[in-house]
């Protein structure tokens, strides 16, 4: 019987996915446009930037430092066979700027801030705070969702720039003092092969897209959660899983478009 249930269940899931996607898109538009609503407050936005950005800073820097050091090590052992260790700076910088910086920042952000955001909004829903706001004629999109969404869009590129920089410093610290690559060559090769618009800005553009997608998914999962204790837990799990997969999938599409 379990197999026979599988087929209609699949059909139901597909049919539910499409209107859900539409509802999520409308949710996004309503929240983004809510910036011009009178209930949108800069103070709320700053509070979210603080919560998402400043408090994730240490995590990002530690993660970036180790990522850079690993890149330095692995790159060195791969390149030393060809006597091409002079390209190590380029390798570390390009991998961080183009891929690892934006993607790891977004994944860490989904785990660190996205989960908290989903839990917050879904408990607000479970305790009927969102309904209470509407009763008081306060637009919950402008008061709750919009500041968080915009904070995500602002914060992730900034975190990504810091991630890139700290990662490159980590790679430098392993390559030059530890492994004995020439420091001048490290920077010179990096500078001659990294372009500002082609590598740095496109990486940050990726981060901006990821910031939007991660906060969007997190906020939507919170908003659409079952208003029960179990629903809050499920929504938080789903938020992190969906956001992480979306970041990886979107990264492929963006790379195909941006770096051709």
């Amino acid at each position: 019987m379990a197999f026979l249930d599988f087929v209609p269940n699949l059909g139901r899931r597909v049919l539910l996915t499409i209107p859900n996607l539409g509802a999520a898109a409308r949710f996004l538009l309503r929240s983004l446009v809510a910036v011009i609503n009178r209930h949108f407050s800069i103070q709320q936005l700053l509070k979210q930037v603080y919560g998402f950005g400043v408090r994730s800073l240490l995590l990002m820097m530690v993660a970036a430092f180790f990522t850079g050091m690993v890149l330095g090590f692995q790159g060195y052992y791969a390149l030393v066979r060809f006597g091409a260790t002079s390209a190590l700076g380029t390798l570390v910088a390009l991998s961080l700027l183009r891929e690892l910086g934006p993607v790891l920042t977004a994944l860490l952000f989904a785990g660190r801030a996205g989960s908290a955001l989903t839990a917050e909004i879904s408990s607000m829903k479970a305790t009927e705070q969102l309904n209470a706001m509407e009763m008081m004629a306060v637009n919950p999109f402008a008061w709750v969702v919009a500041p968080r969404l915009w904070a995500g869009i602002i914060v992730v590129p900034i975190l990504c720039a810091i991630f890139d920089l700290v990662g490159i410093l980590g790679g430098y610290l392993i390559s030059v003092p530890v492994l004995g690559v020439d420091g001048g060559t490290f920077w010179a090769q990096m500078q001659s092969n990294v372009t500002f618009s082609g590598d740095i800005l496109t990486g940050l553009f990726k981060a901006l897209c990821f910031g939007l997608v991660v906060t969007w998914i997190a906020a939507w999962q919170g908003y659409a959660a079952q208003p029960t204790a179990e629903g809050v837990g499920n929504a938080t799990t789903r938020s992190v899983v969906t956001a992480s997969l979306a970041v990886l999938g979107l990264d492929f599409i963006l790379t195909a478009f941006l770096f051709t």
Partner: protein, 153 residues
């Protein structure tokens, strides 16, 4: 947390992001072109510049003294015209030569200048007349194979 403190932290956070971007742009990316902005301009005509690019280094005895700022074509002589910016403290004599060399076997190409012995100095905007073009490895291999083939007869 107090509102003022949050404002401060967010401000510091944003400044940190901007600072990181600046460092990335100047130190990692190659926007740091202002290093030779106060230098003077020299031209050199080559028959073949190979894969020389704008921002390729100009070297004297292995030391970088400037960079290529523009590569164009002289429509009259059909020569490639390379414009370089040289550090102001480096004064080159008029019989200076310029060649395009490759760093290592497959590395980047750069302009190497060999100063002559004339007492007069090249003025800003002057042209280096003695030039040696980029070595074309394909051509060299072709020549070698051809020489071998004709020599064995």
């Amino acid at each position: 947390m107090e509102k003022r403190a949050i404002d401060w932290w967010v401000g510091i956070f944003v400044l940190l992001g901007i600072a990181a971007l600046m460092v990335l742009a100047l130190r990692v990316g190659n926007l740091s072109g202002f290093a030779y902005n106060d230098g003077y301009v020299l031209h050199a005509n080559f028959t073949n510049v190979g894969s020389l690019k704008v921002r390729s280094p100009v070297r004297l005895g292995g030391v970088t003294i400037g960079e290529v700022t523009h590569i164009g074509m002289d429509p009259k002589t059909f020569m490639a015209k390379v414009t370089m910016r040289i550090e102001p403290k480096v004064k080159l004599p008029t019989d200076t030569g310029a060649s395009i060399y490759t760093e290592g076997l497959l590395g980047e190409q750069y302009v190497a200048v060999q100063p002559g012995g004339m007492p007069q100095e090249l003025k800003p905007g002057g042209t280096i007349t003695m030039t040696q073009s980029a070595v074309n490895i394909d051509q060299l291999i072709g020549q070698m194979v051809f020489d071998k083939a004709s020599g064995s007869k």
